[in-house]
Amino acid sequence: MSDITIPTSEHADDHSHDHPAWLAHHFDDAEQQFDSGKLGMWLFLVTEVLFFSGMFVAYALFRSLHPEVFVYASQFLNAKLGAINTGVLLFSSLTMAWAVRAAQLSQQKILVSMLAMTLSCAAMFLGVKAVEYTHKWDLGLLPAGMYITQGVAEPNHGNWLQILCIPAAVFAVIFAGWYLFALVGRNRFQLQIAGPLLVASLCFFAGVQLGVFLESGESHGDAHGSGHGATHGDHHEGAGDHAAHAIIVDHMVATSIPGQAFPSEVFVDPKRVGIDEPEINQRGRAGIFFGIYYMMTGIHAVHILGGMGVITWLIVKAARHEFHSKYFGPVDNVGLYWHLVDFIWIFLFPLLYLIR
């Protein structure tokens, strides 16, 4: 078998002189290599699905145990932002699928531009997410351990959004400098990399702008008040929109929380709960929702970041014209990963933002 493999990989060097053969020595042929890579990728996606499953199970368990908490807390999520982000991710999936097609057809220019668009959409997604997160941090809508009771305690205002923008700004400046440098030096290869990266880092700010616009636009007339009301101390206004919700709150007041029937610190530790308000709007209740929310969306965002890393790597390789109809496995596999990230979001979005 080795006598077949070695000449094959030497042939393969034809189109990448400065680079090791794209066919690894232990594979017999390109298709075996592609199939192995692809099966490996699908198995990796399986591990990703099971990795996320933990959080879906946590969501389902606590939803079944405390449905009222989820009804109450999900109104603080802005469905518009979620929907926009869904659209952005779907579009990035389209461009990614197109990129795979371009690689298969050896269309180098389309490949680079499609990868660039995917990267930009990812950055825009994160921009919107940054607005969403920072808005909640401002209101004290935090995981259970840090949750600030809405309308009672004073939330910690901070310049969270600006802080989150700093890394993106730094990247934008670096990439802009690189782009200019490459422009002056007429280095087409570097331009092909710096350009997409610059656009992507700017797209983060586009996302932030979009998010800020939607977040402010929603304050008038949107029934699913995002918690603006709560900051001003009248979160019951938002609650009042839904009769069912009010009933649940009353129910909770009436039945109280377990810790109070037997006076003890067993169920609710007074020093961590702060004000022992027998309602959903407290750490051990709404806080759990936000704990799950941050874990789900946060780990999803980490996957987006990871995806951006590998797409950048693909852009570099694509700019070197490394992919062609015999060797497009990496594009295909990153594509699969990217679609999986989209796949997860398709479930996260309705579970967190829509279902009441």
Binding site: P258, P263, S264, E265, V266, F267
Partner: protein, 340 residues
């Protein structure tokens, strides 16, 4: 089918006498395998375990017997060649799939029946409110009587309504063959009916930290009269404050599980010889060890943590759990320790 099970049961029962013959150890009440049978669950569990064990032993002897025989009969030796053709035998393979399956189904069935008995709480039980905390048990009886021993009446079913103040614990009484985890945030219930008077061990069997091995208690099974006498006595606190304080310290509040009176450091500082002196604080400085300090430390343990005991948060607040006269009794008891 049912008849078959019953026959099997009888068979195994007769095996049990063989077991006792073989494994009788000096103590008449205990068999080789088990501690005393002191609850209604015990005969069922013991019998069933021995049944499963003897079935297993039969399989084990079979397997090892064949193994040793094959080792000998087919050993490599000059002039002998095995016949490598015996690779398959459908009847045999089906047989050793089906027979274990039937036995497994039976074990599952019996186990589940027994389990459901253990989970079905009878209607009129004597209720005991059990609180587990690191690292002591407290048992609450009617009229607010609290003790660190579990007192039960023989031949009366008792129900434990259990909760935990901190981490997972598990109430385990080997003589009753009963165990149930105590999960913080939930109420766990279990029941058993003691069948023999006497004193038995109670263990915490779910790992709960440093003193897990020490988190035991005694179960005292009384006759009805003894129980009533004990209960009457428990309802009247001692008139002498020192005695009352000692009772609170050693039994009712379980202070003794963390604070020694002989100077040893268990979890918290010892009470020995501290009264009237100055104690160093974790944040620096000292305070006099007097009535005010004790009172504050009982109600708000974190307020003035002592040096070397920075984790005063291990101690729960006794706000609302101790009355003024009880705090006074505890103080009186601490004072008495100084004079000894």
């Amino acid at each position: 089918m049912r008849q078959l099970f019953l026959n099997l049961n009888e068979l195994v029962f007769s095996l049990r006498t063989v077991e006792i013959m073989f494994f009788l150890i000096a103590d008449q009440n205990k068999t080789f395998w088990f501690p005393e049978q002191a609850s209604t669950f015990a005969p069922e569990v013991d019998w069933f375990f021995l049944a499963v064990t003897y079935i297993s032993l039969a399989f084990f002897v079979l397997i090892v017997g064949f193994m040793v025989y094959f080792m000998y009969a087919y050993r490599e030796r000059p002039g002998y060649r095995g016949s490598p053709e015996a690779l398959h035998n459908n009847a045999l393979e089906i047989g050793w799939t089906v027979v274990p399956t039937i036995i497994a189904v039976w074990i599952f069935y019996r186990g589940t029946i027994g389990f459901l008995d253990m989970m079905t709480i009878p209607a009129d039980t004597r209720d005991v409110q059990v609180v587990a905390k690191k690292w002591a048990w407290s048992f609450g009886y009617p009229n607010g009587v609290i003790d660190n021993e579990l007192h039960l009446v023989v031949n009366e079913p008792a129900k434990m309504i259990m909760r935990s103040d901190d981490v997972l614990h598990s109430l385990f009484v080997p003589a009753f063959r009963a165990k149930c985890d105590v999960v913080p945030g939930r109420y766990a219930t279990m029941w058993f009916e003691p069948t023999k008077t006497g004193t038995y061990d109670l263990f915490c069997s779910e790992y709960c930290g440093d003193q897990h091995s020490k988190m035991g208690a005694k179960v005292v099974v009384h006759t009805k009269e003894e129980y009533d006498a004990w209960f009457t006595k428990m309802q009247i606190p001692p008139s002498d404050p020192v005695e009352y304080g000692k009772l609170l310290y050693a039994k009712t509040m379980g202070c003794a599980s963390c604070h020694s009176i002989d100077g040893a450091k268990i979890v918290g500082p010892s009470f020995k010889g501290t009264w009237g002196g100055e104690v160093a604080l974790a944040v620096g400085g000292t305070v006099p060890f007097d009535e005010n300090y004790v009172r504050e430390s009982v109600l708000n343990p974190q307020a003035k943590a002592r040096a070397g005991y920075e984790k005063a948060s291990l101690m729960p607040s006794y706000q609302g759990r101790l009355k003024e006269e009880q705090i006074s009794a505890l103080i009186a008891y601490m004072k008495s320790l100084k004079s000894e």
